[in-house]
């Protein structure tokens, strides 16, 4: 297999990709509405449910699904499995995009976005009791780290271009970036460890409001472990899909290894999840809480089924792909349950996302996919690309 990353090529916007652009534009139109009229008229949010799908889905699930870069980096750099290196760059692209879109969602969601800069600029005012502050600072820093990690792809492209100021800049910047890369990569391992666990800690303060099926002192650990499992799953998903669409040879031999790692990680998660429920004496609650039980069972069963599929047939690309989707879904549901389904502020409060709220989320996802396609078409990201195949 050709080990050098290449741009896929093709038009920046084809007929399919321009559809994505339209979906994104619809979302952005609703976004403008939100900024003019405030959050009330545009969303289903209220004083009982202050956080909706923009936080639960776009930020909490979105960043966990963007943990591919984190998971593969652990494998590559810490466990020293150099053979996974071909997967790193595309994993970093999905991570950089996923985290950037989460950042965008936060700007849309917070009411007083023009004060956001103060969070960065006034360290003297930081309230270290706030898990959310830790998340905010780490996520901002990690977005920067991810784009620096991705910058060699840009620099390689510019260096290879025709002589220009950009080419000169790329030639000069490359060695600097290469020197910086090691400490940056380490930062890229520490930051997700911090904020993915803190995303779990955020909900600990919801003492009475979050169902005991999900409320636990172990939330930070459970969030951290599951994000690594989801990271492996998303890399399998993304790689399988892009290989199929671009008619590149499947990287099953590599992906099966990720599947094996995911088995270990998610099994540890399952054991902890059950041990925690038993230790807190809430297993019975989990089984007789009406529709909460349904969501809990769905969460458990998708993850158990995902692990079983991986155990049975991870060398088969189709089985591997299905298992990855199950783990992504199960991990996403665990987060969604913790932030929304299991959250009950008291009698009389209801939340369901409004149509504009939903379209903004869909628009952001469309934009993310669109940017991914543009990046792999223009930048050397994927390995083993056949230039004549077009997405």
């Amino acid at each position: 297999m050709n080990e050098i990353a290449q741009a896929v090529g093709g038009k920046i916007l084809g007929s399919k990709t321009s559809k994505l652009l339209w979906i994104a534009l619809i979302g952005f139109t609703f976004m403008a509405w939100r900024f003019v009229f405030g959050l009330g008229p545009v969303t289903g949010l209220n004083d009982g449910y202050p956080w909706g799908i923009w936080i639960a889905w776009d930020v909490v699930v979105g960043t966990a699904l963007a943990c591919g870069g984190y998971a593969v980096a652990i494998l590559c750099y810490i466990m020293n499995k150099g053979k996974y290196h071909p997967l790193v760059r595309s994993a970093i692209v999905t991570s950089a995009l996923g985290y950037s879109m989460a950042g965008l969602s936060i700007v849309i969601d917070v009411g007083r976005y023009w004060n956001l800069w103060k969070v960065v600029v006034f360290p003297g005012k930081w309230n270290f009791n706030s898990a959310l502050l830790e998340v905010a600072l780490c996520v901002m820093a990690y977005v920067i780290v991810l784009w620096i990690e991705l910058s060699p792809a840009f620099l390689e492209k510019w260096k290879a271009g025709s002589p220009s100021a950009l080419q000169k800049f790329a030639a000069k910047a490359s060695p600097v970036v290469n020197k910086l890369l090691l400490p940056i990569i380490v930062l890229g391992l520490v930051l997700p460890t911090m904020h993915q666990s803190s995303l779990g800690s955020v909900m600990i303060v919801a003492m009475q409001k979050l169902s005991p099926i999900w409320h636990s002192p172990l939330l930070p650990l459970l969030f951290l472990i599951s994000c690594i499992g989801m990271g492996f799953a998303i890399v399998v998903f993304e790689s399988t899909l892009s290989c199929a669409l671009l008619k590149r040879p499947q990287e099953t031999h590599l992906l099966a290894g990720l599947g094996k790692a995911a088995i270990a990680i998610m099994t540890i998660w399952l054991i902890l999840r059950f041990a925690d429920l038993i230790w807190r004496d809430q297993l019975a609650t989990a089984f007789n809480s009406g529709w909460l039980t349904f969501f809990w069972l769905l969460e458990m069963l998708t993850i158990i089924l995902g692990i079983l599929l991986l155990l049975k047939g991870r060398t088969n690309p189709a089985t591997l792909f299905r298992a990855a989707m199950l783990l992504m879904f199960g991990g996403a549901l665990y987060r969604f349950n913790t932030y929304l389904i299991g959250f009950n502020p008291g009698e009389g409060w209801h939340y369901f996302p409004s149509v504009p709220e939903f379209f903004i989320t869909v628009g952001i996802i469309a934009l993310e996919i669109l940017l991914y396609i543009i990046i792999i078409r223009r930048l050397p990201i994927l390995v083993g690309v056949h230039k004549h195949r077009r997405l």
Partner: protein, 288 residues
């Protein structure tokens, strides 16, 4: 292989251990009311539901009365972005009682604990105040508050968090909060927190047939600076107050957060450990 596995386990182990430390660390110290604490005492048995307090609150805090469609004048069904206090009636099988809702000014408030750059703070008197210039509108305070007190201006493009600040602008001038000032029955009174505690207990002791023996706020949720007396045979939960332990709401979350991030040692140690592993891996040529 053993090396790889060891370093992998080190990574997972370090973080697991750190979280465990957080969980196992001795709980953060119990917070007491400040020496100069002020408070309010609401006596449900005295309240007649005239809602003069709601009207006075609007005037004192510059809040516009609510004008609903159909000409209904100022009848909010809950505190909201325009309403900082409200009187409700419990009317359940003949049991009849009034309840006034506003910020409880917790001794150890969850909203203050979670607020990222300190828009919500406790002042010297223990009043929980709001500074809009430090608020980014993340609404974590709303999620954290067990009383659902902080409200958000959902219909504004430049929204604020709205909650009772015990008329701290009046208190600073030596006056008392507008609701306490106007109440014709002294159902809500303002004063030194410890005096109010003593007064509430005195009422329960002298008139056991009139009052529920439980005083709400002396210990619930770590204690609140607004205290509630309920009529005999009506529980505070019947009146809509949550059933809270004596542990304050942020005690567990802060214990865990402090355990993990104490002195910022853990993240630095993790950085150093991972950096060392990476450099060694690079030397061994595992990386391309």
């Amino acid at each position: 292989m053993t090396l790889d596995r060891r370093s992998f386990l080190k990574t997972i182990g370090t973080t697991a251990a750190l979280t465990a430390v957080g969980t196992a660390a001795s709980a953060r110290e119990h917070v007491e009311a400040p020496a100069d604490a002020v408070g309010m005492l609401y006596d449900s048995t005295l309240c007649v539901g005239c809602r003069a307090c709601m009207s006075a609150c609007r005037t004192a805090n510059g809040l516009e009365p609510l004008k609903e469609e159909g000409g209904i004048y100022d009848a909010p069904i809950d505190n909201n972005g325009h309403t900082k206090t409200i009187i409700r009636l419990l009317d359940d099988n003949g049991a009849n009682a009034w309840i006034k809702n506003q910020c409880m000014h917790c001794i150890d408030p969850a909203c203050v604990s979670v607020c990222m750059i300190g828009a919500l703070k406790k002042d010297d008197h223990g009043i929980v105040t709001y500074d809009k210039d430090r608020c980014i509108g993340c609404r974590y305070c709303q999620l954290a508050c067990p009383f659902n007190v902080p409200k958000f201006e959902w219909d504004s493009a430049t929204p604020l968090i709205v909650k009772c600040e015990m008329c701290n602008h009046l208190v600073a001038d030596g006056k008392q909060p507008a609701c306490c000032d106007i109440c014709p029955r002294e159902a809500i009174i303002f004063g030194d927190y410890n005096d109010l505690l003593a007064e509430a207990n005195r009422r329960i002791e002298t008139e056991p047939d009139r009052y529920n023996p439980e005083l709400f706020g002396d210990s619930e949720g770590g204690g609140t600076q607004v205290l509630y007396l309920a009529p005999k045979n009506i529980s505070h939960q019947d009146l809509g107050l949550p059933d809270l332990d004596d542990q304050s709401i942020p005690e567990l979350s802060e214990t865990i957060q402090h355990g993990i991030y104490k002195g910022f040692v853990a993240p630095v140690a993790l950085y150093a450990a991972l950096g060392a592993v990476m450099i060694r891996n690079r030397r061994q040529g595992g990386e391309r």
